[in-house]
């Protein structure tokens, strides 16, 4: 980690250089990866979505210290919201209410036009993203509210339950009103369309996107969108971290009673952490749905919540560069294994001895145990200052201090 630093407060020049270098690498990366096949870029796309999730969860778990084991629920909310409002699903919903509540159907048709009956609703991405963020934030606050007095293990159990409740709802909410199409999931979700350009490529273009004179594969187009969203997420979370609110979150994590005694309204600040974190999950979910074109409850199982949590914890809880690294490692490694392990075994032994999926679980567990034993604060934890002697002040500070002490003798330092 010595090569890259993101400590803008103490080493601004190094930090900005690191960021520029990393950005350049990230921009070139998909073109290199595409040489080995689009599936590699697809892996990167998913990794970027997981990074967004990890950054969102980091607000709740890393900053505010609220152990949330049901975080994937907000991912599901965003994804299903997109499924409902950017696919033919709404037509199916109408069909299911026609017999019970004809007046409801009439009202919907009147608001959205006759087209809804056959085509469903197709909101643009500009409406979907804020909506997903908003609705997920609302769910975040809603699920957070009953847990306000819980902490530690108890909070974890309750949030775990909430995560499952959402998934089970998605699985069963096809009757009496067909919101989610049940276990079959919602199909034919619109790809993202930005200024008239579909990121999935137009029909018959073989998943190639033309932007101006530029031609690039669909997965690359999504890659750049997700990269942009990730950068925005990093920006937003780091700004939040170094603000009055971010400090309040960390204060609650460190000592809730002391935080209260310092005048922090812990109820409101915790709810805010839940909903801010959830909104990232919501946006990532919306992107996921549009990217895949399909959502089903299977994608939102408990193991996904745990995977995202593992990214935060393994990377370095509460430390944004660490969380991003955790996201990259844990999202990309299993996919890389899938592509490497089985062919390698084929070549070595002539048949597959251990399946990639099995090996993945094995390595996941092993990585967790090893990291928790050797680096309990994560691979890349926040830096801490623990020298016994204070750092010598810079000449400029010394001069300023001397002047200050001349003017204000009462501020003179105790030696």
């Amino acid at each position: 980690m010595a090569l890259l630093t993101f400590d803008t407060a103490h080493k601004p020049r190094q930090a900005y250089t690191s960021m520029a270098v990393l950005l350049a690498v990230m921009l070139v990366f998909p073109f290199v990866a595409a040489q080995f096949g689009n599936s590699w870029v697809r892996i990167l796309d998913m990794a970027l979505l997981y990074i967004m999730l990890a950054l969102g969860l980091n607000i709740v778990v890393g900053f505010a210290g609220l152990l949330d084991l049901g975080y994937i629920a907000f991912f599901a909310v965003g994804a299903y919201l997109t499924g409902l409002f950017a696919s033919p699903q709404f037509a199916a919903l109408l069909e299911s209410v026609v017999n019970y509540h004809p007046e409801l159907q009439d009202a919907i048709v009147r608001t959205f036009g006759e087209d809804v009956r056959t085509n469903g609703i197709h909101l643009s991405v500009w409406a979907i993203v804020p909506l997903a963020a908003l609705v997920a934030a609302l769910f975040g606050a809603l699920l957070g509210a009953p847990t306000l007095k819980l902490r530690g293990d108890y909070l974890a159990i309750v949030t775990l339950g909430f995560g499952e409740i959402i998934r089970i709802f998605m699985n069963n909410l096809n009757d009496p009103i067909n919101f989610t199409n049940g276990p079959q999931g919602i199909n034919l979700i619109d790809p993202i369309r930005i200024f008239g350009v579909s990121l999935a490529g137009e029909a018959g273009s073989r998943a190639t996107v033309y932007i101006g004179g530029l031609k690039l594969p669909s997965v690359n187009a999504y890659y750049f969108l997700f990269l942009l969203l990730c950068i925005v997420s990093i920006f937003v979370t780091s700004r939040l971290q170094h603000s009055r609110l971010g400090r309040a979150w960390v204060a609650i994590r460190e000592d809730e009673i002391a935080a209260k005694a310092m005048g922090i309204n812990t109820r409101n600040v915790k709810l805010l952490a839940f909903s801010m974190g959830a909104s990232f999950g919501g946006v990532a979910g919306a992107m996921f749905a549009a990217f895949q074109g399909f959502v089903s409850p299977e994608s939102f199982a408990l193991t996904e919540s745990i995977a995202v949590l593992a990214m935060v914890v393994l990377g370095g809880i509460g430390h944004i560069p660490g969380v991003v690294m955790g996201g990259v490692l844990l999202a990309a490694l299993p996919e890389v294994l899938r592509h490497v392990v089985e062919p390698a075994q084929q070549a070595l032994f002539g048949n597959v001895v251990i399946e990639a999926e099995v090996l993945r679980q094995l390595l996941y567990g092993l990585a967790m145990v090893l990291i928790m034993l050797n680096r309990p604060a994560g691979l890349w934890p926040s830096p801490r200052k623990e020298e016994t002697a204070p750092l010598p002040p810079s000449p400029r500070t010394r001069k300023k201090r001397a002047k200050h002490e001349r003017d204000h003798p009462e501020h003179r330092r105790r030696e």
């Binding site: 937003v236 700004r239 939040l240 603000s243 009055r244 609110l245 971010g246 400090r247 309040a248 960390v250 204060a251 994590r253 460190e254 000592d255 009673i257 002391a258 935080a259 209260k260 005694a261 310092m262 005048g263 922090i264 309204n265 812990t266 805010l272 801010m276 926040s382 801490r384 200052k385 623990e386 020298e387 204070p390 750092l391 002040p393 009462e410 501020h411 330092r413 105790r414």
Partner: protein
């Protein structure tokens, strides 16, 4: 008698079968250092926790600076103008000393999500003011040079100072200190005493719980004595020293 800053009367608090506080009250004049002493288990900290909203009293009237306040939630009490420290230091261990004090400014500042993300002019100014004030307070308590140090790596005495600086950051009218000298050696106690007098000079009233009677006698303007949840004496330190009930409580009288 000068203006009363804190006027509390008729506080009762029961934990199950234990009557922890019986009809306890204090009247503290502005700008004083007021001491609350009593043997272990007398109910000093319970009384403290009631005043600062950590425990809910069964009865009692509460008035700060002439206005009634409700000790229903600690954050509301802090907002009303009472800041406290804890008997067993409760710092935000993983934050730097400066950040700890900056948290104290939370209750007097306003920036929310929008300001945090966009850092518009008002947000930047507020943040700069928070930082400047926090550094000032660290300098004031004498640990300005450790601003960047992670709080839990500070020495014990400095952690006590940091806790006081953090409490002062909330701009309290009344600073309530729960055994600030606990675990300090003689030199540190002298330094603490100087600090408290310095704080008093800035116009902040101090309510002090302490075991060290010697320290309290020289420091406090007035004091109260608690025993078994009841007030047994109130007055000037010299009067308290001679009070037979107090002597019995501390040395064990004939029961």
């Amino acid at each position: 008698m000068s203006e009363i800053i804190l006027n509390i009367a008729g506080v009762n608090k029961r934990f199950g079968g234990l009557q922890a506080l019986t009809d306890v009250g204090v009247k503290i004049a502005k700008g004083q250092i007021y001491g609350l002493i009593g043997p272990n288990g007398a109910g000093k900290t319970t009384f403290f926790n009631v005043i600062t909203g950590l425990y809910q009293p069964d009865t009692g009237t509460f008035e700060l600076d002439g206005k009634p306040y409700s000790p229903s939630a600690p954050h509301a009490v802090a907002k009303a103008g009472i800041a406290r420290t804890f008997q067993n230091i409760r710092l935000f261990g993983e934050m730097s000393a400066l950040e700890n004090v900056m948290v104290g400014r939370h209750v007097r500042t306003h920036q929310g999500v929008f300001g945090a993300i966009f850092r518009h002019k008002a947000a930047r100014q507020e943040e700069a003011a928070i930082r400047a004030r926090a550094q000032e307070l660290l300098d004031f308590v004498g640990i300005g040079q450790y601003a960047e140090r992670t709080a839990r790596f500070l020495s014990y005495g400095d952690q006590r100072r940091l806790e006081i600086a953090r409490a002062l950051a909330t701009e309290p009218k009344l600073l309530a200190l729960d055994e600030p000298a606990a675990g300090m050696n003689a030199t540190e106690k002298v330094a603490l005493r100087e600090l408290l007098v310095k704080i008093q000079r800035t116009g902040v009233t101090i309510l002090l719980i302490e075991h060290d009677v010697k320290l309290m006698m020289g420091l406090c303007d007035r004091m109260s004595v608690l025993e078994y949840g009841k007030l047994i004496a109130e007055g000037l330190p010299a009067e308290i020293q001679k009070n037979q009930a107090v002597i019995d409580a501390y040395l064990g009288g004939a029961h």
